[in-house]
């Protein structure tokens, strides 16, 4: 139909940077992140052009959900035996300007996390979803989200500075 491709490409171009940030945190690698985003866009493309289904009500949420599920699905296929590493990263330069060091330290911290823990972290703290929304998107219970969230936060605690404590998560305002 006229304009359908253009609408999709406009949407994809606008959302790709956001998707890429989530994908980078999930994959921990720029190339894998680009691949994940492309796979996500491909699935959105198919759904966008599906003749027998209703139009996507919320393309932004649909794309983010597709990204998350594609990541989890790919990780299930690749390995089901991932184990957290036992070492925590060094705290990066604390002047707030050395973004590259922060990124490296963050990736190092996330590297030991199970895929679902990483996903919880991204959904809750990058995409700013509630526990319930995160549970819904991941297809698990709110309790599982809370527990994974605590585990993920524990991994990055050394990077969070003195303002963070476990109580911040246990008793969110």
């Amino acid at each position: 139909m006229p304009g359908h491709d253009e609408e999709y490409e406009e949407f994809a171009r606008a959302r790709t940077p956001v998707l890429l940030r989530s994908a980078w945190l999930l994959c921990g690698d720029a190339h894998l992140a680009e691949d994940l985003v492309q796979e996500t866009l491909a699935k959105v493309y198919v759904r966008w052009h599906a003749a027998f289904r209703s139009p996507i009500e919320n393309p932004v949420a649909y794309a983010q959900t597709t990204l998350t599920r594609t990541f989890l699905s790919s990780r299930r296929r690749r390995s089901s035996t991932e184990r957290p590493t036992g070492t925590l990263p060094e705290r990066p330069v604390d002047d707030g300007t050395d973004r590259a060091a922060t990124r490296l330290a963050l990736l190092a911290a996330l590297d030991g996390l199970a895929p679902k823990d990483r996903t919880v972290l991204v959904l809750r703290y990058l995409e700013d979803l509630s526990v319930e929304e995160t549970a819904d998107r991941m297809g698990c219970s709110p309790g599982a989200v809370r527990s994974r969230s605590l585990r993920a936060l524990d991994r990055i605690r050394p990077l969070l500075g003195s303002s963070f404590s476990a109580d911040t998560e246990r008793h969110p305002s």
Partner: protein, 263 residues
């Protein structure tokens, strides 16, 4: 929400400007995603039916009757190869014992002609099921496809969006492939496949974004006849009925009807 959580600040600080710092070519990613999407879409449409046809060298009825009987001209916008395989194709990994009896793929043989116009479909549905139907919806994003072997029309039945399609089956994936959860973005099966009275059916009820749709596909005469009934006028939002007005039984009756075919 977590806007002021230290973890949110950390993740946002770390990813802010990421695409710029990594010198990511957004256009390249979009082009790649679009190309993959087209391939994925095409693969789903062609899928296993065409592969099976190629392996056993099936020549559809269309090849025998030729283009004259089927109308002479080519499809206007083929998404897939719509010509039947005219030469047997050797499978790359042949079995030791060739199959002696011809194997008929379940969806490959065209043995009837579609004799209705897409523009007549709403009237036929109204006559068969008794509901109130609108004229075909012709404005974007709907539109009508009225090719000889590829019909699609959207209209309203009792005030809700309804879509009817008739497509060559050898341009679609098999029922099993279409519902395969591994191919769905949400990881859930896209319906179920059943055989009733010798007819393969795909049945799928889905609720998304508050709108429920009921899809029934039937593999008949080498075509897939499909009907989707929604509970809302545009299939997007604001349901006007507690459920899609066309029941599964009525949808099955309609898509398995001979009313679409002749010859």
């Amino acid at each position: 929400m977590n806007d002021h959580h230290p973890a949110s600040r950390l993740l946002r600080d770390a990813t802010d400007g990421l695409e710029h710092d990594l010198a990511v070519d957004v256009d390249r990613i979009v082009r790649g995603g679009t190309a993959r999407g087209r391939t994925l879409r095409r693969r789903r449409r062609v899928g296993t039916a065409l592969a099976a046809a190629a392996v056993v060298g099936v020549i559809g009825v269309a090849a025998g009757v030729g283009p004259t009987l089927l109308g002479g001209e080519a499809r206007t916008a083929p998404e897939y190869a719509d010509q039947p395989v005219t030469e047997p194709v050797t499978t790359p990994t042949p079995t030791a014992e060739p199959t002696e009896a011809p194997v008929t793929p379940p969806a490959g043989q065209v043995d009837a002609l579609v004799t209705v116009s897409a523009y007549d479909v709403p009237g036929i549905v109204g006559r068969e099921l008794g509901g109130t139907v609108s004229d075909p919806l012709t404005q974007a994003p709907y539109g009508v496809s009225d090719e000889r072997q590829d019909k699609m029309v959207h209209f309203r039945y009792d005030g809700t969006l309804t879509t009817v399609g008739i497509e060559r089956a050898d341009g679609l994936a098999s029922c099993e492939a279409l519902v395969d959860p591994a191919d769905q973005p949400d990881g859930q099966p896209a319906g179920r496949c059943e055989t009733r009275d010798g007819v393969l059916l795909l049945l799928h009820d889905e609720t998304a974004d508050g709108v429920t749709s009921r899809s029934v596909w039937a593999w008949r005469h080498g075509y897939v006849v499909s009907l989707v009934s929604y509970d809302s006028p545009d299939g997007r939002a604001e349901p006007v009925a507690p459920a899609p007005p066309i029941s599964e039984a009525d949808a099955v009756r309609l898509v398995t009807s001979e009313v679409w075919f002749g010859g």
